[in-house]
């Protein structure tokens, strides 16, 4: 086998030690030259894979993890033949309900991928404009494999910002082909649609890596720093007496422009800059003075509270009625990207004084400004000018008024019916009418009510329910101060060297990534509780985006957040906030690096071997408990293709498609033992690839189970099964019925449960079987190629 020797240079220096920019560049160059020499030798079969190039791998996955479709609509409405009813019938173009579902999933994945590709393209172009195409990509002394995805998929190491353009062009080209397949009269096989969705997901992963890499190196964000600072989070951390600029979205560039302006003008103490959603995370990676309001679910409440004087929106997951909401409380809106222009006048080329004046005089409600430096100046100056005036605005109703309004409720109950989670809004209103605000408080806490505002839209009395809940929450929940470790970016090579073996052998029971959005069934607390449960059990817990923020909002009895209780290292009991949504690339990145650094699998052009390695040996599991978006669909489908299973919350069923394994079909789980060359009996590990759980208990048990891998050593298997049984007992009361499936021989049985399990095995007619030496899902010929 062609192997790339891991570069075992002594690189355990602290990150900061070498942080002089010039030095970095020169190191970068030296390393590069070596790479270039070895690259051609180790090129695998699929550099820059086209749409069909990884199809055979997909078909292997789809053979085992068959797509499970839950149509959200029975009809297709994409062409002018009109809506076709696909209930047992084919459409006017010949499509059937399965292919149609898969098509819509592909479409969602394409939209998600486009969001990340567009975002990354903007970052890369902007940063090249600012820092030059030759700006070196160097993540410091502890990270040699700076871009595991780019190396694997593009087949080369990106050395400078300019190299990322090739990555994005490739991604955009693939995306165009994939979206084309969604056109009427293209693909007809649901399996081929799924293969394409996986390709879209992979492109999404790649675009995210390029985007995060660019911003990390060019904006000086933490480079895999396990000791990234704690960032202030929560409403209570924002001094609403000062002028407040709120950034919403995902693109750090305008927020960075604001931070720069404030620094340049010494205004750090005079103006508060805070953020919602990933923009918050990434601005705080750029400058820790930025404050984090919280996840997406804070958005409407925070706007309604009127605290923000200026609202700067960039892109993705922003309420599209932000302008309308801002106008209500006289906040100014600045749109900053082509993705969200809101019909505002494009004042990019206008003089800053002019724009400030127009906004302050309310000649306009907002402006589109595509120059981030100008955004920085205008946002700050406008906030400072209008803050005083706005302070006297009475924005939210008083508690008395709320009680009076609540009395108008007709108890029609439609607020509950239109609530995505059927939350008892009506009860809260009725109680408030009687002066009891406790039920409102319950809805407010942990964003149990996401505040999507559907109830308010439906209310026949037009009660401002979102304003009411905001006021009550702010009044009763005093100390809303939390924190979050700043997004550290990727995992260091040295960490991979440390944990590679324990993960692959099973001694570390799993790597669990809590990612994605905040469309939770029961509020954000559940995510924090799940994280806590697995941290206590020695798992590595990784997190990003809204998940990372939800975790930070939970404090234990001593008032400590999980970030205060657990370190940020990628190791057992580590709570690793990698950053924003784009940082999710480092989750698959870490798994790829295990295959490369620990197992010495070559990366370049070698997708299938890497994915096969991860599927069979790396006990990682993604959890997107509140996944709501097309981006989340793309992310999940992308990591699935790498062989990483994902658990979504119950709302995830509305994505229309899961990938479920069938434990009752033994033949589906056979493995190829590449060492012995024999087909051997396997086990459902991981059992599913994309799974929607109904509630937290079910999810927790499933997550533990999905960390099992064929490659586990007996000791590792014992550890994993021990947690699985523990958690199953906790949430279901008994040892799981299917335990026998995961026990290959007696050495796999957790000692604590030995007796009970032995009895169960006997009842089940269990027989011991062989452990694989080199378990694989690839065909044997692949081995020949590799060796």
């Amino acid at each position: 086998m062609i192997t790339v020797t891991p570069k075992n240079k002594p690189k355990e220096f602290k990150n900061d030690f070498w942080k002089s920019k010039n030095f970095k560049v020169s190191i970068g160059e030296i390393v590069e030259k070596k790479e270039v020499e070895t690259a051609p030798e180790s090129m695998g079969p699929t550099p820059k894979p086209n749409v069909t190039d990884l199809r055979s791998w997909d078909m292997k996955l789809l053979e085992r993890y068959e797509p499970f479709y839950a149509p959200f609509c029975d009809m297709c409405c994409l062409c002018t033949f009109g809506k076709c009813d696909l209930t047992g019938k084919k459409g006017a173009c010949g499509i059937d309900i399965q292919a149609q579902q898969a098509r819509i999933v592909l479409l969602a994945c394409c939209i998600g991928t486009a969001a990340h590709a567009g975002h990354a393209r903007h970052l890369v172009d902007h940063l090249i404009e600012k820092y030059g195409a030759d700006f070196a990509i160097d993540l410091g002394m502890n990270i040699d494999i700076e871009a595991p995805l780019i190396r694997t998929l593009i087949g080369k190491k990106p050395k400078k910002l300019g190299d990322l353009k090739e990555v994005l062009s490739y991604t955009e080209e693939q995306l165009s082909h994939l979206l084309s397949a969604c056109h009427t009269g293209q693909e007809g096989s649901h399996l081929d649609f799924e293969s394409k969705a996986m390709h879209a997901g992979l492109m999404d992963d790649l675009a995210r890596e390029a985007g995060d890499l660019a911003q990390i190196v060019a904006l000086g964000m933490p480079e895999g720093d396990e000791n990234a600072p704690l960032i202030e989070m929560g409403l209570g951390t924002i001094d609403s007496k000062k002028p407040v600029v709120l950034c919403i979205g995902h693109n750090v560039v305008p927020g960075a422009g604001i931070m720069d302006y404030m620094e340049d003008h010494g205004l750090e103490e005079d103006v508060e800059v805070c953020g919602i959603c990933c923009a918050a995370i990434d601005i705080s990676r750029y400058n820790k003075a930025a404050k984090v309001v919280g996840p997406l679910s804070k958005q409407l409440k925070f706007i309604r509270s009127g605290v923000a004087d200026v609202i700067v929106v960039d892109e993705q997951c922003i309420r599209t009625d932000v302008l309308e909401e801002a106008v209500k409380n006289k906040a100014a809106v600045i749109a900053t990207t082509d993705k969200m222009c809101l019909g505002l006048p494009d004042l990019t080329d206008e003089d800053a004084d002019e724009i400030v004046s127009k906004l302050v005089c309310r000649e306009i409600d907002g402006a589109l400004i595509l120059d981030p430096e100008k955004v920085g100046e205008v946002a700050t100056r406008v906030a400072m000018k209008i803050a005083d005036e706005r302070e006297n605005l009475k924005i939210l109703p008083d508690l008395d008024e709320i009680q009076e309004m609540a009395k108008e409720c007709t108890e029609c109950g439609w607020c509950v019916r239109v609530c995505p989670n059927g939350k008892p809004m009506m009860d809260a209103v009725v109680a408030a009418g009687k002066g009891d605000f406790s039920k409102f408080v319950e809805l407010y806490e942990y964003d149990t009510c996401y505040s999507c505002g559907r109830c308010e839209q439906e209310c026949e009395r037009e009660l401002p329910l979102m304003s009411m809940i905001t006021k009550v929450g702010e009044h009763y929940i005093k100390d809303q101060k939390y924190n979050m470790r700043a997004g550290r970016g990727p995992v260091q090579d040295v960490e991979i060297r440390r944990v590679g073996a324990p993960i692959v052998l099973g001694d570390i029971p799993g790597v669990i990534a809590f990612v994605g959005c905040s469309n939770y069934p029961e509020g954000g607390l559940e995510v924090a509780k799940m994280a806590e449960e697995f941290l206590e059990r020695n798992y590595i817990v990784v997190t990003t985006g809204c998940g990372a923020m939800s975790i930070g909002e939970y404090r234990d009895e001593e008032g400590k957040t999980l970030y205060e209780r657990y370190g940020g290292e990628f190791d057992a009991k580590g709570l690793v906030n990698m950053g924003s949504c784009v940082s999710n690339a480092h989750v698959s990145g870490a798994c790829i690096k295990i295959a490369n650094i620990f197992a010495q699998k070559p990366l370049e052009g070698n997708f299938e071997e890497i994915a096969d390695y991860i599927l069979n040996r790396v006990g990682a599991c993604g959890v997107a408990w509140g996944a709501y978006s097309q981006k989340a669909a793309a992310i999940a489908t992308g990591v699935n293709r790498w062989g990483i299973p994902v658990v979504v919350g119950p709302h995830g069923s509305k994505y229309r498609r899961l990938y479920l394994g069938r434990t009752d079909k033994k033949e589906k789980w056979n493995l190829n033992d590449l060492r012995s060359g024999e087909v051997i009996e396997g086990e459902p590990a991981p059992e599913h690839l994309m799974y929607a759980a109904e509630n937290r208990g079910e999810a927790t048990v499933m997550i533990a189970k999905l960390c099992i891998r064929p490659n586990d050593t007996p000791k590792g298997r014992q550890i994993k099964l021990n947690h699985y049984i523990d958690l199953h007992k906790k949430y279901f009361g008994i040892i799981p019925d299917d335990i026998s499936k995961f026990i290959r021989n007696e050495k796999d049985i957790p000692i604590t449960y030995k007796k009970d399990v032995m009895n169960m095995l006997e009842e089940a007619g269990w027989e011991p079987r062989a452990l694989p030496q080199e378990p694989s899902t690839m065909a044997f010929r692949e081995k020949a190629r590799g060796k």
Partner: protein, 169 residues
């Protein structure tokens, strides 16, 4: 339009096909006709009297119970036999005409749903509507489920309990 047969979450309306509205009487007829019924019980019926009534119905009609979410624990603690599955797992098995059923006696022909979270239940019912022509679905929740073959209407608790009692007695 009859308020009782608007889907509880009104936007789950999926197309021309809508569930048949059933009363306890028509539900009883469906049960009588069924050869291998199954009850899928979700975590929303943790409280009596609904839980007791659901169990009574299962007993009276001799229907095996699958518990979803973490409902198994509640049933187990009450010494009620059930088999735990994720709701998506059991639906996945039910849609396979060749699956042997919960007791290995053959695929079920009637599946009763009660207590599954509305929207994920609705999605599962959609799966079965499209891909399981070999079985019928009947929901016993107090919510109209348009994706089922047959469903109770939207009801208040009192009426619902009466419905369940009729089916249990």
């Amino acid at each position: 339009m009859n308020e009782r047969v608007i889907p509880w979450q009104p936007t789950v309306i999926a197309g021309p096909k809508q569930a048949l509205l059933v009363t306890p009487e028509t539900a009883e007829m469906m049960l009588k006709k069924a050869k291998r019924p199954l009850m899928v019980m979700g975590p929303l019926v943790k409280d009596s009297p609904v839980l007791s009534l659901a169990v009574l119905i299962a007993e009276k009609w001799n229907i095996p119970i699958v518990s979803t979410g973490d409902m198994f624990k509640t049933l187990n603690e009450a010494d009620i036999k059930s088999k735990p599955y994720g709701v998506v797992e059991i639906v996945n098995l039910l849609k396979d005409p060749d699956w042997g059923g919960i007791n290995g006696e053959g695929q079920h022909d009637l599946v009763l749903f009660i207590g599954v979270i509305y929207y994920i239940g609705s999605q599962g019912l959609s799966t079965l509507k499209h891909f399981a022509p070999h079985l019928k679905t009947l929901t016993l929740c107090k919510f109209f489920h348009s994706n089922a073959d047959a469903s109770f209407p939207n009801m208040k608790d009192e009426e619902w309990i009466k419905y369940l009692e009729k089916l249990a007695e």
